[in-house]
Symmetry: D5
Subunit: 167 residues, 10 copies
Amino acid sequence: MSAAPITGISGGPQSAVLNQDMVPRVASFCPMLFAQKKEKKLSFETIAQALGRDEVAVAALFYGQARASDEDVANLSKILDIPESTLKATEIQACPDRGKTMLELPPKEPLIYRLFEIVQNYGYAYKAVLNEKFGDGIMSAITFSTKVEKETDEKGDWVKITLRGKW
Amino acid sequence: MSAAPITGISGGPQSAVLNQDMVPRVASFCPMLFAQKKEKKLSFETIAQALGRDEVAVAALFYGQARASDEDVANLSKILDIPESTLKATEIQACPDRGKTMLELPPKEPLIYRLFEIVQNYGYAYKAVLNEKFGDGIMSAITFSTKVEKETDEKGDWVKITLRGKW
Amino acid sequence: MSAAPITGISGGPQSAVLNQDMVPRVASFCPMLFAQKKEKKLSFETIAQALGRDEVAVAALFYGQARASDEDVANLSKILDIPESTLKATEIQACPDRGKTMLELPPKEPLIYRLFEIVQNYGYAYKAVLNEKFGDGIMSAITFSTKVEKETDEKGDWVKITLRGKW
Amino acid sequence: MSAAPITGISGGPQSAVLNQDMVPRVASFCPMLFAQKKEKKLSFETIAQALGRDEVAVAALFYGQARASDEDVANLSKILDIPESTLKATEIQACPDRGKTMLELPPKEPLIYRLFEIVQNYGYAYKAVLNEKFGDGIMSAITFSTKVEKETDEKGDWVKITLRGKW
Amino acid sequence: MSAAPITGISGGPQSAVLNQDMVPRVASFCPMLFAQKKEKKLSFETIAQALGRDEVAVAALFYGQARASDEDVANLSKILDIPESTLKATEIQACPDRGKTMLELPPKEPLIYRLFEIVQNYGYAYKAVLNEKFGDGIMSAITFSTKVEKETDEKGDWVKITLRGKW
Amino acid sequence: MSAAPITGISGGPQSAVLNQDMVPRVASFCPMLFAQKKEKKLSFETIAQALGRDEVAVAALFYGQARASDEDVANLSKILDIPESTLKATEIQACPDRGKTMLELPPKEPLIYRLFEIVQNYGYAYKAVLNEKFGDGIMSAITFSTKVEKETDEKGDWVKITLRGKW
Amino acid sequence: MSAAPITGISGGPQSAVLNQDMVPRVASFCPMLFAQKKEKKLSFETIAQALGRDEVAVAALFYGQARASDEDVANLSKILDIPESTLKATEIQACPDRGKTMLELPPKEPLIYRLFEIVQNYGYAYKAVLNEKFGDGIMSAITFSTKVEKETDEKGDWVKITLRGKW
Amino acid sequence: MSAAPITGISGGPQSAVLNQDMVPRVASFCPMLFAQKKEKKLSFETIAQALGRDEVAVAALFYGQARASDEDVANLSKILDIPESTLKATEIQACPDRGKTMLELPPKEPLIYRLFEIVQNYGYAYKAVLNEKFGDGIMSAITFSTKVEKETDEKGDWVKITLRGKW
Amino acid sequence: MSAAPITGISGGPQSAVLNQDMVPRVASFCPMLFAQKKEKKLSFETIAQALGRDEVAVAALFYGQARASDEDVANLSKILDIPESTLKATEIQACPDRGKTMLELPPKEPLIYRLFEIVQNYGYAYKAVLNEKFGDGIMSAITFSTKVEKETDEKGDWVKITLRGKW
Amino acid sequence: MSAAPITGISGGPQSAVLNQDMVPRVASFCPMLFAQKKEKKLSFETIAQALGRDEVAVAALFYGQARASDEDVANLSKILDIPESTLKATEIQACPDRGKTMLELPPKEPLIYRLFEIVQNYGYAYKAVLNEKFGDGIMSAITFSTKVEKETDEKGDWVKITLRGKW
């Protein structure tokens, strides 16, 4: 018995979706951004280059978890073909009401669950190492940047996520 | 009004503790490892060098979230001054019953909460970028390595955490 | 006293339903697939044969828990009589935002609860046997296939479910 | 950067453990069985052969999730070197108070979580296929047998779990 | 002080309601059945007689917790004055997605809470007596019938509920 | 493939157990009653006859969910061979602090879960029928009696549970 | 620093509101009653006098937690200026599906939380006193009346709530 | 069929118990007070008279939910035959860490649940009436007194609970 | 690696938003107030000055957590350019149904979580100090005022929040 | 009717207690500190003066929520009469495993609940005002100080709590 996997895993690029149950929870400009991104067939990589920001930061902006600077708005307007005034009339530059994308925790989405599982299983190990390296304190999740890279070796593809936060 | 901060934040190295309420939940060898580490005044950095493994992996082992190889046992025995037979009589080489360190989620511990908050707020942004880079699938939280580095610039100290998992 | 059972149990084939409270949570193409399946009076068995995939994988696709390949889209288009372009305009080929079908856990649905109960009661027994057979690690729930078979003997019908996952 | 994985994954057989936080919850004979199994260096495979039962059923018995027949007691007595009278004085033949091994759901243990995730993500797909094959009804989780097999091909090891329940 | 009771308790027959917050959760034919039952001023007792089934089974059908046989559909069509084809176009004969009526447990509805309280307080007493009478096993909640009777003596009215399930 | 069922189901009488994790939660006389019942090899049926009460009521008393009258104490003393004064020194005649046997709801114990599932799935059906038969009000779970009977026909054994409560 | 209180506390009578998030959960006649009460500028005190019932009972009726008798309907029709037939077409005389007003417990509403806190903190004290006064049993929350009075002394206003239930 | 009720309901006075699972949660003087109360065969009514306080307040003190004044300590010492110095060495005069008696909410104890149910079902009715009588604000649950009375009429016994709180 | 922070932190004033998922939960006048505030480009500081109330109190009013006096209505009407009659037709002067802004606790919004974390970590420290300073009792959260100030020193900006409540 | 309040509210100073159920959760030095504080009859005010730190910070240290500097240890040793070496052998200078004092949230303790209620009801009001004053960002709960003051006017005592955190 060797049925094909149930999931349609493939190596090709996949356009990210905004599931319809998230629409009423996120800021009202989010569906518009996703729609134009799909229309223009743009990846976050391309948009990130146009904005001069990291991909994850741009995706966070699309999900309403970050705010746009004036420069971001100008660049988004150009690449997504949405008038600047339309963007500015939304809350895209307001302080986000964060934490709305994820309805429940632990997350049911398998990919996001894996990130959560790392915190669950190694949280105290990180704390121990951080306290020994830095003393008492915390790493900021706000003054914080992150990036995602793809590495390939003979075993296949590897995800490399880097988190960098102010102590 | 400028009272000193309520937390005893300091930059000096701090020995990690195993809070007493965790003792009945983790494997029975954990308190022994922490006791000898304290007795010998060893940091995870020193132990990690002796074992040739990453600090977070070693801390995970101390919290019962990873298992020791024969070589790890031999090295731990030497550096912690615990007879190899004593270590081998415990479940240090058994498959861990993982997930016992964290009683509840969201975690109340502020440092660990910050890591959790990153997943909560940027989980979908990571998923979007990963799916666009790798296609459908997940990043393994098991075939997975991680490290913590300290970077210092004019703004102060920065924590840099790297996660690397098989796609 | 020997009233007939309250449930309308019968051995005949029953067309699967998409309960209306699930519609706003799953991807927007799901109701369309179910509607055409009903219209065409097709079973998952028939569709699975047309797609050359397992029945459970096809049902998972209908519930938005898996993505369709180009070939799947072509076959679905033919058998369900939906234009390919209509299917391609939906998120049927996007990476699914998985985990939306089941609102709460433990599941209230009795049939699904029985599967859940197996994990609840025998989870540690499976772990013990798997660790003894394979060493430390996990079985993938992603690189994973599954099938359902019906067996009949003198005691009646038996369900045989096979799960096969990469270690 | 290519650090070794944080988990001590290995292909060799690993003796299953009874984590100490489970001891007060399971029946009082469970720790005794595990202790003798360790002392005698027996795998569940060996014990299962001696009892003429499936490995998972035997592991379930060790975790107090199943009851022993007179014959099981006689065989356990012999292979574990525990007097029959000692075993019979415990509740090993009583009807188990099931459901005590798993403190919380979703389970935090990664291997058990993967089984849970299969139910979570494909639960409705199973229900749909089962209803179409069998009509309305449920699969029994009680008149139920299960087995675990190991398959190896060029891609590595595969876990094959079979569940068989009365409809 | 002897104010009248806050609840409008009365002994007269009361037509059962489908609270509007339940409508989006149950199958779409449920509101139609309730509406015609009200229009026709029928009690469950009358409908049950027409269908030759128990009252609770019929009420379960109205709440979408059971499926109708062809004969049930014919009888419902006649007594409720709904064309058979209209009924057949709904999911009234599909396998129900059970468990949707009760949003949360413990139930807040006082009458249903009392039934729940019986399970909560006497659950282990039932298990003990059942295990002593039948050995290990369970009582089926699926191959199961139930009825409600009214008994009156000098102390007032008594509810008698009988549950009968296959062991 | 037709492995024996994982559960040790048998038709013979099984002595009920008081799982050790329940001991610290129930009244302190409960373990003493269970111990003497086991020592004397008594079933609840026998004890119930000696007390002139129903089996479920007696089991409820053993689990600390009901209180004993003076007559009950005298009878228990005789049949269990415990001095009356020993029983009277406990809280066996005090008003029970009910609800301690079941730690969590939904119950994980499969047999008790089935009772719970009946309330979950048919709760509103019962309410509808009761309201139509009795008007507004509730069935008492306190002025309440219950019994368990065993019926056997060609299909096997059937459990018949009767609940009778004051309206 | 002595800023005015953040809450707009005042001693004057305040018309009660039906928050819009409660509308979809309560019976459909509730918004109509509140609207006419507002239109007619009536207090619950006035309506209660017209109905010859207690204020709390009337408010409970407006929130769909109690049912109206024929006499109540006649009186409500007159005082609220709603035709009797309009009222009778609603479920105002049906048995309420109680427990819908309060979405979650503990309640977030501060005034209701205070009542809840009394039960939380003094629940066992009430039970102890009641058991000593009445023996084993419960106080009915159904055959139950309640009233609210206002008392004023030199320290200010006092709320006096009386609960009276059948033992 | 008219079996005696499962609960041992009786009208005679019942001494209140401190269930053993509450002991580790309440203040350490509580078990001592209950033990002496039992030894001396005192009811809360008698103790309340000796202290010149209300019964519920005294019971609350026994459960560690209120603190004793110097006068209370002197009176308790006399009536319970405990040296004043022994009482003063405990935390009986400290500010209580309130809220420890009730482990979970909703409460499972049926008598306490009935009080809770009143708040759940009539909470908004109370709020509406209170706001109309007093304006915006809350009733204090701290500057608060309460008493329990027994009333008997031809229908049987009635519990009358009065709550009186500062607005 | 020194990517810009993911959050768009800036020191400039940001207009507060009413996230769309809050609209159905708060009072119906809230969106109108926010819309006019945006239209008029007013800050809470400006509006607070016009109303002669504290900024937090005014923001609480905008979120439906406080009620407006006649004077507040007059002032709001003027500064927001909404007719007084329009405001008075809403529930802006009714007693608020408080506690609707925050759907879940712990709050996911990072800024609000920080306030919550202070209560979580220092709650008992506050209680200890308050009890030592004031004796037994509580601080009112109702007869309560609060203000927010900005302080700047060489280390940057500091938030100073003052809470003042009646004991 | 004007019974004395149930709570033993008084204006005199009350020594803070460490409830016994908290002992196994907090660091092991906490009970020792509380015991000596009681023995020496010291208030937090006195100890705070001796340590030159704020009272709340000192109380936080006693509850294991903050760490002691070398100077703190020296001062504590002197004022509590505990040898410095004894203190240093504990984890009083380790990085605390914070968040252990409060078992559940919302907190049941009424005084702490009031602080929690402020965050619950005014959380969004604070966020709105802070974002308008400071832009996007958060207030640190770590680089944070706090103090408690008592103010008295003709209306009675007032609590003034000041929170000051880095933006």
